[in-house]
């Protein structure tokens, strides 16, 4: 009985740990915080699993991960909005000298990564859920708990902000 529940959880939920971890990395921007939040989310998901009937297990699990990340941030008060992202992008940028085209592509990618990182969390989450994890608007609406219309407008505004940031980089170079 107990093990049937564990087995079902293993089959339906655990395959999405990579997606869960990816979302947590983008939301919390710290690998240790992300690990702790995902572990917390997995245990919660397991405890509430009896309540999961149908629907997409990935979206169901990502909703819990997202809420755990929110709670985690509130509890630890570590808002690092203003810290520019990703040393690896910076390193990538610095290390490159191979060719101008390549350098330009890389600096563009780094600029987009910075722009995504600088987005307010409610914009960043829709970008990751849509552009990286490929969720539908209805699924995103379920994960973040807002109407589909709000998902649509947040995604649209987030893309415009990133486009604007990219435009500035291109003009500057």
């Amino acid at each position: 009985m107990v093990s049937a529940q564990v087995e079902r959880f293993e089959t339906l939920i655990l395959p999405h740990l990579d997606d869960a971890y990816t979302l947590a990395r983008y939301l919390l921007r710290d690998e240790h915080d992300a690990q702790d939040a995902v572990q917390d989310a997995a245990l919660r998901a397991f405890r509430f699993f009896g309540g999961f009937r149908d629907g997409d297990p990935r979206a169901w699990f990502l909703a819990i991960v997202r809420n755990c990340c929110r709670t985690w941030q509130r509890r630890h008060r570590r808002d690092r909005l203003s810290i520019p992202l990703a040393d690896d992008h910076a390193a990538e940028l610095a290390a490159d000298s191979a060719s101008d085209t390549l350098a330009m592509e890389r600096s563009e990618r780094a600029a987009i990564a910075r722009a995504i990182d600088a987005l307010p969390p409610e914009f960043r989450e829709v970008i990751v859920l849509r552009e990286l994890q490929g969720l539908s608007y209805a699924e995103i609406s379920g994960v973040i708990g807002v109407p589909v219309g709000t998902v649509m407008s947040r995604l649209s505004r987030a893309r415009r902000r990133i486009a604007a940031a990219l435009g500035q980089t291109l003009e500057a170079s």
Partner: protein, 248 residues
Amino acid sequence: MQCAECRDALDAFFDSELQPREHALVRDHLATCLDCARHSEEVATVSRRIQESLVPHRAPDVLKARIRAAIAEDAARPRRRSRWHWLPLAAAGLVIAAVSSAATLLAVHRGSAADQVATAVLESHVRSLLPGHLLDVASNNQHNVKPWFDGRIDLSPSVPSLDSAGFPLAGGRLDYVASHPAAVVVYTRRQHVINVYSWAEPGADAAPVTAESHGYHLVSWRNGGVEFWAVSDLNIGELAQLVALLRR
């Protein structure tokens, strides 16, 4: 359709999230309005650039092992709210098997002896990923790892250096698997950990056999009275490559 209305719907149009009627209206408008068509292009471009820039992360093995262990532990603990449900079960003389580790969770099949060994190896592998359990001797140098086993176990595992093949040595440990004291040599590949178990097992030589369970791959073979098991969540192709190097 007016331009302002069209602009508001461009993202949803691009994501194929509009109702068929609206979708057709936007499509028709874009066919006639150059300005809106240019904005539509921009949405497609920025979306593509964003997708190129975002990277999926892989949950570390240690995190996966921690989660499996936490769930097994949680499953073994009766819930407070369901206390009354347990009473009739206890009365009926049923004993709820204690799921005290990731062990039970990872049961492959309770069938043949080989399956039971596979289960034991897998349990040991997952346990080894918990913090502080992986290595008794941590060294990338085969000349430190191999002598460490001397006098600790009655076989001398071969510890080839496979750095150049992309499998750096991490070290070794002693373990106890399926009633055998085992020597474990630990290799790594990117973020993956590969445990290579060996213990004395009389019998004819046997060619490698592979198995898969819960996202882990296992390869076992027997050579010169020693049984070997290699286990990892690495893909089977790369694991087979390591096994081929070890058997050389």
